[in-house]
Amino acid sequence: MKALTQALLLLTLAGCVHMRSLSTTSVPMDRSKPVEAQGYRLIILLLNFNNTYVDTLTQDLAAQCPGGRVEGILTKAEDIVYFPIIAHAVKVTAKGYCVESP
């Protein structure tokens, strides 16, 4: 019974997702072409030495909308705990709409 309780407790503690930050810009009227980019880093033993994996998000979004503008960008940063201390990840998602430049 004790082992079962411990296993259930462990399962409860593992696999949590926490919201780190959320932001959005002004949403355009034309929402016919959604675009999305994602940055992800798996972090083992809490060791993470830089956050440069998010730097490509802007270029990824721009590449999906050549000649246009990406507006209404929702940026969401999440912390995913796969197993406490041993393995967790940070996921940054940017979703927006591609609109034609005036």
Partner: protein, 145 residues
């Protein structure tokens, strides 16, 4: 004291290993795709040293206990300091909270007469025991500047 050295090494090594980059928030602004794909990227980074007096007191208490002395007073000091540092925050306390205000001036210098777009603001901490680097990073693109 020397026979307790292994007990000191483990927490010290662990605390040094946790010297990591912690991201608190990231925010993207609207993007003009042509400027991003053909313009000049730039990065602005401003930072300030953070200092956690509570953590310092707790580490001092732990060292005192490992050395065979009482760390109770230091623990109490740490708890009192903790009372003054409650509330929502990112990173460790800094002396000058206006350090990030310089970003707007740096932005003007990076692209004095051009179009700026694709701005991404990242708030992060370079985390070390007791001290930290509290960083605000701005990545963007400039055309015609």
């Amino acid at each position: 004291m020397l026979d307790r050295l292994p007990h000191l090494i483990a927490p010290t090594a662990l605390s040094l290993l946790t010297g990591c980059a912690v991201m608190h928030s990231v925010q993207l602004g609207d993007i003009d795709a042509d400027v991003v794909l053909k313009g000049k990227p730039f990065e602005i980074r401003v930072s300030e040293v953070g200092f956690d007096a509570q953590e310092a007191a707790e580490i001092a208490a732990a060292i005192a206990e490992v050395s065979g002395k009482s760390g109770d007073t230091l623990k109490d000091v740490g708890q009192v300091i903790g009372l003054f540092q409650m509330g929502p925050r990112t990173g460790k306390p800094v002396v000058d909270e206006a350090y990030s205000d310089a970003i707007i001036h740096r932005l003007r210098r990076e692209c004095p007469a051009g179009q700026i777009t694709g701005l991404m603001m990242v708030r992060e901490t370079a985390e070390y025991p007791v001290v930290s680097g509290e960083i605000v990073r701005l990545v963007g693109y400039c055309r015609g500047g």
